[in-house]
Amino acid sequence: MASKTGGFSVRGLREWLEAPVAEGATAGRTKLNALRGAAARITTPLLPDDYLHLVNPLWSARELRGRIVAVRKETSDSVTLVIKPGWGFDFKFSPGQYIGIGVLVEGRWHWRSYSLTCPPDWTDPEHKAKRLISIAVKAMPEGFLSSHLVNGVAVGSVVRLAAPQGGFVLPEPPPAKVLFLTAGSGITPVMAMLRTMDRRGVVPDVVHVHSSRTADDVMFGNELRELHDKHPSFTADLHFTGEHGKFALAELDERVPDWRERDTWACGPIGMLDEIEKHWAAAGIPDQLHVERFEIERSATGEGGTVTFARAGRSLEVDGATTLLQAGESAGVQMPFGCRMGICQTCVVTVTEGHVRDLRNGNERRAGDKVQTCISAAAGDCTLDV
């Protein structure tokens, strides 16, 4: 109860009260932490949240949760999901960051990351000025969860959230000259940046070159036009690949002659981003380029790959038959281990990137899943939280 100096202090008392929730919480601090901490002493080993979320699923800061309050169609194959986060969500993210979202489908939670499309601390008058967040999802033909979100998710569904993160962000204040290069759903993080600039009323010289197949496929098309009309310093330059073919970087000199003077944010398919990186490097200005690579939602057919052990800071190349446990041990990583036959659950770690495969049944696991390293192997490049 006493602070470190030995005397009694309000801060010391508060820290003591918050201690039980500080241990277990993955979410940010809430104003109620002291109360939750005090209550945790009678609900131990659970947290009060474990009882409260039975009453209202959003009353838990142990795991961030949210409720889908609106689903808006953007194009024929994309939607905006408006989510009301529960306790502990930090609304002070940076425009351009993404969140993790967990959705329950047939008893299993599926985790994906999506860029936030809203400015920080956004309120929507339609929803009684409550603080909300939004993401936009485009259905991918082979994407199981994106198709589910676009076609099947119901308003009112409870989702899990992971705190906003990512370094693809618009600085505050924004640079004087900006270029956005996006394609397809790559527009989503840039949308958050544009909306933030619009809301703050600070729109510098911004050129946005966006590619999509046709005019109907442009996510947020109307809003882009409105922004274009509202802010003379903002230019939305749409490129339709259905008519004109892929946007060639050689055209940049013509369409945005001063692109070399601009700070550039690019987001889209991997191939496009690789080309852009090469182009900027060739121009000798790689520092002016910011790139966001989305995780490719695909059924991994890869066998083996580079396994990265994030916390140990090591990585190595393995084949599709070597278990992640063996891989870690041969790389000298301190791996948790036990029975080595998939029964004791002591070797479980979280996959943070890429795909792995359960060797017993061939099931594929992906970022956000916890896997038993002794019976899992790399299915393409992957990163483990160990």
Binding site: L54, G107, H110, G338, C339, C344, Q345, K370
Partner: protein, 469 residues
């Protein structure tokens, strides 16, 4: 000397065991593929019910100065603690619900309402016990280091105290488990036993401290004037949970028929043999749905040991298929009422408190442990058409298939025949003894008669001599 060769003991060939393993793999895969919404709903419903029961129990105890409120509150809290411990804590920590990908219902994050830390328990239980099930000197759950549960273990004078130790273990079961797990955690990290204060000890003290403070300080204090009766209620609920958990766990591996194994068996074990060891080392008890829930579905201990990470609500369905396999391979499926199963364990505890010279059977042929040598002294009927594959079967004239019915003849038949043969052997020995005794008695009578005749003759002779003097 417990089972050293499970193939010989099971009366199965290598190929048999491999196919058996594949069939069990198929059962697992079928369940895994069919997991979905209904299963997820089941566990969430149990969690909700448990939390409601606990909250109701705690709330009722505010009025615990009333006798009926005390009884109701204690009952609710006991049931809540039992479900939390068995169906939730035990099974979630086994990873049975990891497939849901729910971070809150996951083996890596679940903490249970017991004095031991879940992480330490997982090491001792999921790793040691479930990998080395019933192997002497490797599975520390065999008697929990306190009781002698098989005559493969040497008798020590301290075992005389076993009946008393058993009672203490039952009443303080959660503490027994916690200390047992702490020991396992220490030995895993190579911390010497006498080094009292270490990181695992700190984890243990932190967890146990929270539990004690909650049940014995904070809740009684919260109920104010009812603090004394609340304290008693909480102690009673913990005691009831302990006794129940103890009984269920003792029914899992200690009734007659649950076999013990040696390190020799483990050394070169195949996956199929691992399955077989789990099957032969475990015992079920009969339970309806309510009883199954209260025992964390450990009434299906055999199924649990075959598939420790398959959701417990599926064990009933799996058990039907496991029983079919037992019939097919003629293997025993050890089960009985909970009362019978516990009494068998209870009998073993008390029997083995005594030194070996008081015990009739040997460790090759005892109710709680046997070995393939059990069958060696038994003359088995000679069988003409032997399948190739097992030298042991050939050596013992054991046909894999009954020539008359065409059915597989395995361990179950062998055990029955051994039982009959042993009984006959005993009867025969008894008869031989009786005959020997009778003939000895006869001989004695004859000698006595002879002596009497001789004495009579001497008496007559001496009379004649006296008269002629």
């Amino acid at each position: 000397m417990a089972i050293t060769d499970i193939k010989a003991f099971a009366h199965l060939t290598e190929a048999d065991i491999e196919t058996l393993g594949q069939e069990l793999d198929t059962i697992r895969r079928d369940v895994e593929l069919s997991l979905g919404e209904r299963d997820a709903k089941y566990i969430r419903r149990v969690i909700r019910a448990q939390r409601v029961l606990e909250a109701a129990g705690r709330a009722t105890l505010f009025g615990s100065r009333n006798r009926w409120a005390w009884l109701a509150g204690t009952g609710l809290l006991s049931v809540a603690k039992i479900i939390e411990n068995m169906e939730l804590g035990h099974n979630i920590s086994h990873g049975q619900w990891d497939w849901m990908n729910d971070p809150e219902i996951h083996s890596t994050s679940w903490e249970w309402d017991m004095t031991g830390a879940s992480s330490q328990w997982k090491r001792a239980h999921n790793y040691s016990h479930h990998t080395y099930t019933n192997i002497l000197d490797m599975d520390e759950d065999l008697g929990f280091g306190i009781l002698r549960m098989t005559r493969d273990e040497e008798w020590k004078p301290i075992n005389l105290a076993q009946p008393f130790a058993n009672l203490v273990l039952a009443a303080l079961f959660e503490w027994g488990i916690a200390l047992h797990d702490l020991d396992a955690a220490k030995s895993q990290l190579g911390i010497p036993k006498d080094q009292w204060f270490s990181a695992p000890t700190k984890d243990f003290l932190r967890k146990a401290g929270k539990q004690v403070v909650k049940d014995f300080v904070i809740y009684p204090a919260l109920t104010g004037p009812a603090w004394k009766s609340t304290l008693k209620a909480n102690a009673s609920a913990n005691l009831i949970r302990n006794l129940w958990a103890y009984a269920v766990i003792f029914c899992g591996h200690f009734p007659d028929g649950a076999q013990k194994f040696t390190e020799e068996q483990f050394e070169n074990e195949t996956q199929g043999e691992w399955y077989l060891r789990q099957m032969l080392g475990s015992a079920n008890f009969e339970a309806g749905p309510a009883m199954a829930l209260m025992s964390g579905n450990l009434s299906f201990q055999i199924e649990h040991h075959l598939f420790p990470d398959i959701p417990s609500n599926r064990y009933a369905q799996v058990s039907v298929k496991v029983k079919e396999l037992c019939d097919k391979y003629d293997l025993p499926y050890t089960t009985g009422s909970i009362g019978k199963q516990y009494l068998l364990a209870f009998r073993t505890i008390h029997k083995l408190a005594l030194p070996d010279q008081f015990l009739k059977r040997t460790s090759d042929d005892a109710p709680e442990t046997s070995s393939e040598r059990k069958f060696a002294g038994v003359t088995l009927p000679a069988m003409p058409s032997l399948p190739a594959g097992s030298e042991w079967l050939a050596e013992h004239n054991w046909a894999g298939v009954d020539p008359v019915t065409g059915e597989r003849r395995g361990l179950r038949s062998a055990l029955q025949e051994a039982k009959v043969a042993l009984k006959e052997k005993a009867l025969h020995e008894k008869a031989v003894l009786r005959e020997a005794k009778a003939s000895l008695q006869e001989k004695a009578r004859q000698e006595k008669d002879l002596l009497q005749t001789k004495a009579g003759r001497e008496r007559r002779l001496s009379r004649i001599l006296r008269r002629n003097r």
